[in-house]
Symmetry: C2
């Protein structure tokens, strides 16, 4: 537990997201996991496979946040430039890690060619720590406060699970939702009053359609579960005034 | 058509994305549509519902890109602060648009309360243009090179369709893919050679699993369809050398 919660930024490195070819899912996965650890995700950026942009963004973000998580660009092909850029951002050389070479040779056998062995390249320095990849051997790594993960979601997730115990946690943020078949405009004034009365709770209002009906989901988020319960009760009461039946999400 | 292609940035404004509650889909939708128009999407950022961050980011991005598209934060509730922030970023007042008020009163009748009429608030100025919302009346708007859209994906899409004819197009970027049951490490050297021989084509390599098999999708992107065809043929030949049968995506 820390008095000032740790913060984080996610950098999604990949032309395939910016071209619309690929739907990113790493932001949501990391956002959920970081939230559960009490680490405040302050920003996520999707940036292209362009060295100057990657280097400048990493250097900007690592000074502003407790942790930076990158995904993408650590494979064996010509468009995988993340490691070279991370090393440049930290002013380090790239070295080939002997233990990773040995693991890749054992795993790939004859197919451990030069391209694949590039995945054993990491920035130099005694502080650089490998991040285990139980799915496909080639590791991620941590350098200072920057965690470099694969772009393939299943591998990014395996790497996050491996690094998660090393993170400094903050006070966990809890949340509860309450939904009703009601327009958010109908309860907006009530929400404003409830928000003003409970400044320690962040109240979000999210409209959606279901079977042609307009619905609203109200989400209360806070480190204080008692305050969340008060807020959710008050929101439910406001929904009932408009003859809308509240449906409660799981208790925080 | 322009000689220097127009560029764009997307700003996703919303705590619900950064908390992991909501999977963003607006980046991918806008990325695909902008790509088809030849507008180069250079960056996408997810930022929180924090006024200083929104104002600073909008002011930074609008000076760097031809177009900025924001989504989120223009509804009727207390957490909808985008319009106030956009006005502050441009040093303008917020005014209530009489035509929008009339349209909302006609649509909502008795339910056109003060909260809903806040959605008729837009930054002041003769250059500010409304963006039609055929789904739920409350419009988006354009101010200089910034387009302010709703966060709900169906409404963001309706607004984009309405504003699309006003955009300056660039040379369209075409793409074609070729997939095979092969590890990307097996064709990495060939890809490097092909990329070096065809600098006008961006070649991306994307591994994935299917039924427990390792597959790779190679995507060639360029404004020059002939060059794409050359690249795809050469990649397919490299796949066949490894006894992998190429499966071609639609012609560009």
């Amino acid at each position: 537990m820390t008095s000032t919660p740790p913060t984080a930024c996610i950098l999604i490195i990949g032309d395939e997201i910016l071209s619309g070819r690929t739907q990113d899912t790493n932001i949501r996965y990391l956002a959920e996991r970081l939230g559960a650890l009490g680490i405040r995700l302050k920003e996520a950026r999707v940036i292209p496979d362009v060295a100057e942009v990657i280097i400048a963004t990493v250097n900007d973000m690592r000074r502003r946040h407790t942790y930076v998580f990158t995904t993408g660009g650590i494979g064996p092909t010509h468009d995988d430039i993340t490691t070279d850029c991370i090393a440049a951002a930290f002013g380090r050389k790239v070295v080939r890690h002997p233990k990773v070479v040995a693991a890749m040779q054992a795993y790939f056998g004859d197919r451990a060619n030069e391209a694949r062995l590039r995945m054993a390249n990491i920035p130099d320095g005694p502080d650089v720590a490998l991040i285990d990849n139980r799915l496909s051997i080639a590791p991620g790594y941590r350098i200072e406060n920057v965690f470099v993960l694969a772009g393939v979601p299943s591998i990014a997730q395996a790497m996050f699970e491996a690094l998660e115990p090393t993170l400094t946690k903050g006070d966990p943020v809890y949340s509860q939702s309450v939904d009703a078949e009601i327009g958010e405009g109908d309860i907006a004034d009530a929400l404003t009053a409830i928000q003003n009365a409970h400044p320690a709770v962040a109240i979000g209002s999210y409209p959606y359609g279901r079977s042609g009906k307009i619905c609203t989901s109200i989400v209360a988020r806070s480190t204080d579960r008692t305050e969340i319960a008060f807020v959710i009760d008050e929101v439910a009461a406001a929904m009932r005034i408009h003859h809308a039946e509240p449906v409660f999400g799981p208790a925080p």
